[in-house]
């Protein structure tokens, strides 16, 4: 699995002087490699253990324990779990919510950052300080009033409430990041658009957005994955079964009487797989973006 590869570095480190340190300390290199392998195996082990036990029968687990290779592949545990929690529904809820938030939050971030980074509106610094603070706020300081207000507005226990809330929360980060990107936006491009007679609205969509598309892609990816993984507010807001997202559905099942070792692994596995899938799909964007996300 070669995820997170960094091709830019390839030539420098491999081409320059590959063999010198090897000759100097031949035994040390294997010790280093062995230590790292053990460490990385320890990190990955929980996922591997989950994977092999998710496809075991309960009887197999009872007699052979968690580390044995399954006697035969059994997808019964996964199927049972899937059906019991109506997992298709939860996947759909999570997907729709995350997608809507990612799109809307990117849009809102662009509008904010256009005014703050390029337009440099009055009081810009204070807006940026606000978005920075909004970014670090713990969600529980917003939770109860949001819960109370959403009940008033009949938005409680609906995906709409979650989409609205996370659009705003994620766009606080997006605005902060994008404003500093737009502050460095090439003036010549904006001037050229102005000379062509483009208004602010047209300039935004025809010049600013296309030029900053790589950054927007990173933001979109972050927002999608962050929203997918959110737990606290969805736990409070999505109480009925048909509205739950994947993390909430899995989280509230913990400690349930019906959960045995193989069912628990099955549930963990179906929670892990989508996340791994996104990671593989988005890895290129993410590699570029993890450092940008540092400000959060």
């Amino acid at each position: 699995m070669t995820v997170l590869s960094a091709p830019a570095r390839q030539d420098r480190t491999e081409g320059a002087e590959p063999l010198r340190p090897v000759k100097r300390r031949r035994p040390a290199r294997w010790v280093v490699l062995a230590v790292l392998l053990v460490l990385v195996l320890l990190v990955v082990a929980p996922m591997l253990v989950v994977a092999i036990n998710a496809v075991k029968t309960p009887a197999d687990y009872a007699s052979n324990g968690p580390l044995s290779i399954p006697e035969r592949l059994s997808f019964q545990g996964i199927a049972d779990f899937w059906e019991r929690v109506d997992f298709t529904r939860k996947l759909l809820n999570s997907f729709v919510t995350s997608l809507a938030v990612a799109v809307l939050a990117v849009l809102l971030s662009v509008l904010n950052a256009y005014a703050l980074g390029i337009g440099r509106v009055k009081g810009r610094i204070w807006f940026l300080v606000f978005f920075l603070v909004a970014n670090v706020l713990p969600q529980e300081v917003l939770a109860y009033p949001l819960y109370y207000l959403s009940k008033d507005l009949h938005l409680y226990d609906s995906l709409t409430s979650i989409v609205i809330i996370f659009t705003v929360i994620q766009s606080a980060f997006g605005t902060y990041l994008l404003s500093s990107v737009y502050a460095e936006f090439p003036t010549e491009l904006l001037d050229a658009a102005a000379v062509d007679g483009a208004g602010k609205w047209r300039t935004l969509w025809r010049v600013v957005v296309p030029v900053s598309r790589p950054t927007l892609a990173v933001l979109f990816t972050f927002f999608f994955i962050w929203t997918w993984n959110e737990f606290f507010l969805p736990l409070i807001f999505l109480v009925s079964n048909e509205n739950q997202t994947v993390p909430v559905a899995l989280g509230v099942l913990q400690g349930d009487r019906l959960m045995d070792a193989t069912t628990t692994s099955a549930s963990a596995l179906v929670g892990i797989l989508p996340a791994m899938l996104f990671f593989l799909i988005f890895q290129r964007t993410l590699t570029r973006g993890i450092t940008a996300g540092a400000i959060k």
Binding site: E17, Y114, V121, Y144, L204, F232
Partner: protein
């Protein structure tokens, strides 16, 4: 942010309107409400009763409140201090040794491995570990048993003596990949000639690590430390799934304490006071770190 002075003309304010309205509704109003409610006694139904600073004086005398912040200090060790230090060492070894001796492929594979837990939803990591550490059907105790180490088996999450330590171990596992990735990308900024010069001067690996690596990636160091510390202060998901603050409050943290006050004990005023205190601490910390970071950057590392 630098460059142009002044604006490009007026009219940009219009673009800010949707963002401002949305932020008012979802962030400003709820924040002000929570701070307001923290001065009242309220069950969530009926009218809140003004009680002034009562909730805050009660906090000061509440052993659970102090315990929850004590637990947070230990979780900062597990989520910020240990991952940052170990991550720094791992990143340096991967970038400066493994990539050179074994090639970039190996360095990337290791990096992805360490980063893997970070891509999983926190609730899912909670389930994975909740099962591994389960006293009766958990994998860890079964493994210890079959290795003849059954006497080491514990009720990892159910025994107040070990619960917090177990959660800390899980959090180290969860957080480690983030500093590794951040530091490795920071290391790419460093001019390789510096290392070559150090090699020519006969510097040992450890000397190079301390004098060059650590010194030059200070910006990343501050970023990682502040991000992980704030994450530790906010921790909720893993606690909810792994222990629900138990056993007997051994793993209680402020966010879970507030959640419990809001939705289980119907002490909304008290929960608001807890959230307000936590928020103030986080904001102060963020600004202190930002100042430190600015100073480090002005020191001429970039």
């Amino acid at each position: 942010m630098s460059g142009r002075g002044g604006g490009r003309g007026s009219g940009y304010g219009l673009f800010l309107i949707p963002g401002v309205l949305a932020s008012l509704a979802v962030i400003v109003v709820p924040l002000v409400m929570t701070v307001g409610i923290s001065f009242t006694r309220w069950t969530g139904i009926g009218t809140p009763q003004w009680t002034g600073l009562d909730n805050y004086t009660r906090l000061l005398h509440d052993a659970n409140f102090w315990a929850s912040f004590g637990h947070i200090l230990l979780l900062i060790v597990a989520m910020a201090v240990i991952p940052t230090l170990v991550g720094l060492l791992l990143a340096a070894v991967l970038f400066d040794y493994v990539a050179k001796v074994f090639g970039n492929r190996w360095a990337s594979v290791f990096r992805s491995g360490f980063y893997l837990p970070q891509v999983l939803p926190v609730a899912v990591t909670g389930i994975v570990w909740g099962w591994i550490l389960h006293p009766s059907y958990g994998a860890l105790n079964r493994i210890l048993d079959s290795a003849g180490l059954g006497s080491l088996a514990r009720n990892w999450l159910g025994d107040p003596k070990y619960a917090l330590l177990s959660v800390m171990a899980v959090m180290v596992w969860f957080q480690l990949g983030y500093p590794v990735v951040m530091f490795m990308s920071g290391l790419q900024r460093i001019d390789p000639e510096l290392y070559e010069a150090a090699d020519l001067d006969g510097a040992t690996w450890w000397q190079r690590f301390r004098r060059i690596t650590v010194y030059l990636i200070r910006p990343e160091f501050y970023v990682v430390l502040v991000t992980t510390t704030i994450a530790a202060l906010k921790i909720f998901g893993q606690i909810f799934v792994l222990t629900r603050g138990g056993p007997s409050n051994a793993t209680l943290v402020p966010s879970y304490f507030a959640y419990k006050s809001f939705f289980q004990t119907a002490q909304v005023g008290y929960g608001s006071a807890i959230s307000t205190v936590l928020t103030v601490i986080i904001i102060v910390l963020a600004f202190v770190f930002l100042r430190l970071q600015n100073r480090a950057e002005r020191g001429g590392t970039r």
